[in-house]
Symmetry: C2
DNA sequence: GAGTTTCGAACACCACTGATGTTCAATCAC
DNA sequence: GTGATTGAACATCAGTGGTGTTCGAAACTC
């Protein structure tokens, strides 16, 4: 999938979400692509659960409070994510055992850990795939049910895998973080996995780009005080610092 | 990776295994490729643990009793594997829960199950990846440590995942099968995972191409009598049939 | 330490794959 | 029944990845 195609998918997703529903011809005119291409795109997006096809067009299935699918988030804020990931990777010492959350920022962390001599348990199959070719690190796969698209592992098998282990460090991504509301996630299942990851680790690092600070999502994960450090690309957050959290600016 | 490249890798693997060690120039002459390409190939094979580089050449690390790496087996006996896989897939009914072993034959089964409405727990990340884009089936990932190359999940996390569940059917691949020696595998860890898979399933189907019948590998898994059916491409095996196993010829 | 060999990074080239557009027959809605 | 919509099939094109060549650096030999 090329950048070109991804940006068109994103454009379609947003246009359909804003309008509620749109016709194939409208989308073709909007994007400059042929109707056939639009149909193929809609098929892809329908498979991801973003929207629903009907004859002549598609209607959005995106709730206001849910996040866009993984494939459409991967190259948003790339630069910030890379910087944050590099800082997080630098905070991990050789020989450590790390549990790595799902999400695009944590996937960047995974890529940077590929050649390190550590033990990693990623909570998303995307990160598992990024790391499975490594010979230097010990890769542990948690059990679970992968959520479509996101490929984040959830459910009782995941919780059992986490509760059986104790990690030096947990690297957690999230959908919202503030001193008052704490760490929040869009998905309820995800939230309980994050909570389990946090409680099985001695040190907790949150990797959060600026767009997520001061935002709040549906599912509560943990209070800000349970984080040992927050790595972000924004200037130091006053409230978080006041809550006793070490804020690292990447 | 093209067919061309894979067959050259296979050629190199075999030549180095037979000779014990070979020089880059020898391999270039043998394959007709440039020395640079040979060096790149040797790097790939070294990463897979097939051989060890030294200045000017490489020496084989393949034990006589171990199997060649996954990437080199994928398109051997393709036709037979496809036929076997199709037969196995046909023996699985909608709504069933299936545990699917690692190996190239079972990976073909996974591909055929992609759009079925069943529950599948693959024991290899290759199969997980083949199935993770499906919306129709319920995919369960077992925990564990993926073995490099093969990406078969092993270890206590895998055993725990299996013992927590009860499946309708287990589809088992193996490295050797005979009425007298039973089911055998090259890897000890794999063997215990296969055993756990067998004991957590009500029905056990073995998918075995002809090259594995009458062969025996190091690790004993289970007696032939614990199999409910054997699907193979060879003509019905007399001994197995005599042992009370249903032999299905694909 | 000089000479030779091997290595690997960088670049150019080529084949192939995968995305896109076009056409057309089949299908669906009214 | 009529018109719009769809998806399969084929042609086209761009990007990717594998391969070869060159050349400077490193390593091994003597």
């Amino acid at each position: 999938m090329f950048n070109h195609a991804v940006s068109r998918l994103k454009q379609i997703t947003e246009a359909v979400r804003d309008a509620g529903s749109l016709g194939v011809a409208d989308l073709a005119a909007l994007t400059g692509a042929s109707e056939m291409t639009i149909r193929r795109d809609l098929e892809v997006l329908a498979a991801q659960g973003v929207l629903e096809r009907f004859r002549g067009g598609a209607r959005s299935l995106l709730l206001r409070c849910s996040e866009p699918p993984f494939a459409l988030r991967t190259d948003e804020n790339m630069a910030a994510k890379r910087r944050i990931a590099a800082t997080v990777a630098g905070m991990i010492a050789d020989g450590e055992s790390v549990v790595l959350d799902s999400g695009t920022t944590c996937l960047e962390v995974a890529r940077l850990l590929h050649d390190r001599r550590i033990t990693v348990m990623p909570l998303s199959l995307h990160a598992v795939n990024a790391l499975s070719s490594s010979t230097s690190l010990t890769l542990l796969v948690p059990g679970g049910r992968p959520r479509p698209g996101e490929l984040a592992l959830t459910g009782p098998l995941t919780l059992a895998s986490l509760s059986a282990l104790r990690f030096d460090t947990a690297v957690i991504g999230c959908c919202g973080l503030s001193a008052a509301q704490g760490l929040t996630a869009f998905d309820l299942e995800d939230a309980s996995v994050k909570r389990a990851a946090i409680s099985s680790a001695r040190r907790v690092i949150a990797a959060v780009d600026a767009s997520k600070l001061s935002r709040t999502a549906l599912a509560f994960v943990a209070p800000a005080s349970s984080l040992d450090a927050v790595v972000t690309d924004a200037d130091g957050d006053e409230d978080l610092a006041a809550a006793g959290v070490t804020v690292v600016t990447a």
